[in-house]
Subunit: 438 residues, 2 copies
């Protein structure tokens, strides 16, 4: 959907005013998330690649201009200007999959003021959602542990087909193994996975017939065993596994989707093991999230893999991220908004990562220490990086995730967590001059 | 995105098995929402028109088939079959904007089993989200009251640009007045609205200069007065209104976006009234939802209109709807899933609306009373209805909404509300034969 029209109307009315007044010098806007973010001790930055593509495609089609003309808000010379407009700005950003925190800039846009203003809605929409899902996925992975296979089952509850694509991408970036979303598999090269539904079982005279049919028709069958009685389902799976064994074939696993998953999984494991099938894997699903997976494991649940849907794709315990995009500098210098509780950063910044994720946010002109996290990724409206290698980056993100310090990996809910972000003397001085705290 | 590939992989592996076995007789699936739905005493059904369009466009492109081939799961004759596949089924559904309840079928699909199965993900994704947002929007409207103007400000926090389009559509259907989403304005003919951002004010030497500039450049200015101090902002708005008065122009309103909105709105009202501008309207925004609007009004807040964003578009207190799509009947008769807590309806049903929203769900062959809510909207894959007249339907929905019985209009949070839905003797008998409750 590469349309400049995907924007809040006020971006256009403001742009119109800037245009009339020749207020189109370069300005810098920062994308950051306001603290606190309930239940999140860290975030995973995501959505940069889709955003850069959208910025490259940012334009107003003829029919967009005709629509805007019909609103009787804009002058013809402004509409002509919009027709020629392309995004020509510079973007600095963290790498996708970077562990990051509220209060620090994750992306900076410097562009002629009108361009920088008009892309606000796009920047916020894409980064807020992918970062939200990647951050949720990271917690789910921490709960499941490094050995478990975790699969995105969210398409049916995500907020539109396009949301489902972003959810599949962001959860894979965070370290998920696969998605059920076939379109995401094709578009992003994410492995796809899936089992069978209750409706399949109901389409046969009985469960055993359904299992036999599916095992015959699918090279790597995973049988859903809880349409009727899950333990009887496990015994039917054993029968099919025994029949297949005679033909040199096997079933990969069974799936539980309802009931007391921890207790059932232990019973099912026992049935499979006693029948001589320790290699048959148990997958569990059904309104799972990090809290339920932790509880499942604490109660002795046995699972090789987890299918996680609704609560991943809508980030159930935090369904939106309070990311904002604020003017921090223009031709007249740093700009701060000072309304209570909504302070912005004063000027262009860098984020310095020191040992143990103790980040320092410093003004560009200040010296930092450690590793600078914001890199220039776009200049003159052109991308400076090749498209992200998603599988490779996923590996790096998983490694970071499973070696986080305990205070960051802590999954206990907390309405008001604190973050290891410091501000530099330069920023502190600017804030002090206004009598405000960031 | 008219791609058959937007589906969960298991739909395709099941379809492959049905294809191999010639299991492709007509089957009926019902879309319904499982009770209880926390914090929702009723739902507004939405998303039908976009769904019907998607069903009409359902197909697999050459490149989709090539991708599926690469998975090594499907036979060539099945891929050829998918290449020719179109949705040819029949759809019965409630009207968009209908007040409805968990436990009753909102839509029925009857089609050759493979088609009916393959569209599951699409049906669930689109109906779940639009119904979720329409239902949330209805509550927000009830809180704001019939006199208030309520505007969708959600694009920056919705879960993708496409989600934002659905949010704008569903909230307008429910009775909202406008959206800030310019693309939704163009695509759906929804009125667009917007004011100005803090960054605009920051782009001028001081607030008064910004207000003067905006009032000069915009035919119907609404001034955002809380970038610095909201009461000083109100006084600056008065100054600009006085200057405009001399030229025969006016400002439409002021907007408050932060702080104690109820207290500030009263102060701002007083400043405007004392200066002789009782006609200048106050708009409020900032993380609003039905609970906060009710509190605002109970505390004596004064607002002509509300901008509602994040908490509308992600349905903050209930970020996903548990809508399901279940096989209820096939060539062998009614089909019921009986796993604990996940019972399905036994067979094709109608929903009869009796006085006071006391709905009756009855089998097709049973007599009903009142008004049947499920209408045939598609046959042979072709729509039987013209596209929805959204503004006209919105008027009807608003009328219903503001005359709901008090027990339905009650906005107090409730984790486990009950619904006025009865089942017929025929359904009760079938359930009794299994010893289960719906």
């Amino acid at each position: 959907m590469p349309s400049g029209l995907f924007t809040d109307l006020y971006e256009l009315t403001m742009a119109h005013s800037y245009f009339r007044r020749g207020l189109n010098q370069p300005a810098t806007f920062a994308y950051f998330v306001r603290a606190p973010v309930p239940h999140r001790r860290f975030l995973l930055f995501a959505g940069l690649d889709p955003l850069l593509s959208a910025l490259q495609n940012f334009r107003f089609a003829e029919e967009d201009l005709a629509y805007l003309d019909s609103l009787d808000l804009f002058s013809q010379d402004f509409l002509d200007f919009l027709g020629r407009l392309r995004f020509t700005g510079e973007v600095w950003a963290m790498a996708e999959g970077e562990v990051c925190f509220p209060g620090e800039p994750l992306l900076l846009v410097t562009a002629p003021r009108i361009e920088a203003q008009l892309v606000e809605t796009l920047v916020l929409n894409i980064l807020n959602y992918e970062t939200l899902v990647a951050s949720k996925a990271a917690r789910i992975l921490l709960a499941a542990g490094p050995e478990a296979m975790v699969v995105d089952f969210s398409p049916r509850r995500d907020h539109s087909p396009e949301a489902a694509l972003h959810a599949a991408r962001a959860s894979f970036l965070a370290g998920f193994h696969a998605t059920s979303n076939t379109l995401a598999g094709k578009l992003y090269g994410i492995p796809v996975a899936g089992t069978m539904a209750h409706s399949y079982v109901l389409s046969f005279p009985d469960e055993l017939s359904a299992f036999r049919a599916f095992a015959e028709d699918h090279p790597q069958p995973v049988l859903l065993i809880d349409t009727y009685d899950p333990l009887e389902g496990a015994r039917n799976a054993v029968r099919v596994a025994q029949e297949l064994q005679a033909k040199g074939k096997r079933i990969v696993g069974v799936r539980l989707d309802s009931g007391d998953l921890a207790a059932l999984s232990r019973e099912v494991r026992r049935i499979l093991d006693e029948a001589g099938f320790p290699e048959i894997r148990i997958f569990v699903s059904g309104d799972l999230d990090e809290y339920r997976i932790l509880e499942f494991r604490e109660r002795g649940g046995v699972a090789w893999g987890y299918g996680v849907g609704t609560r991943l794709g809508v980030s159930w315990d935090l369904p939106a991220l309070g990311g904002v995009y604020k003017l921090v500098e223009d031709e007249k210098g740093p700009r701060m908004k000072t309304s209570p509780g909504k302070i912005t950063l004063p000027g262009r910044c860098q984020v310095w990562r020191r040992e143990g994720f103790r980040d320092l946010v410093a003004l560009d002109e200040e010296a930092g220490e450690g590793q600078p996290l914001l890199r220039r990724v776009m200049a003159g409206g052109e991308r400076l990086l090749p498209p992200l290698n998603l599988p490779q980056r996923r590996e790096e993100v998983r490694q970071t995730l499973f070696s986080l310090p305990p205070e960051l990996a802590d999954l206990r809910p907390h309405a008001n967590p604190s973050y290891p972000v410091q501000i530099s003397p330069g920023i502190a001085a600017q804030l002090a001059s206004t009598g405000l705290k960031l």
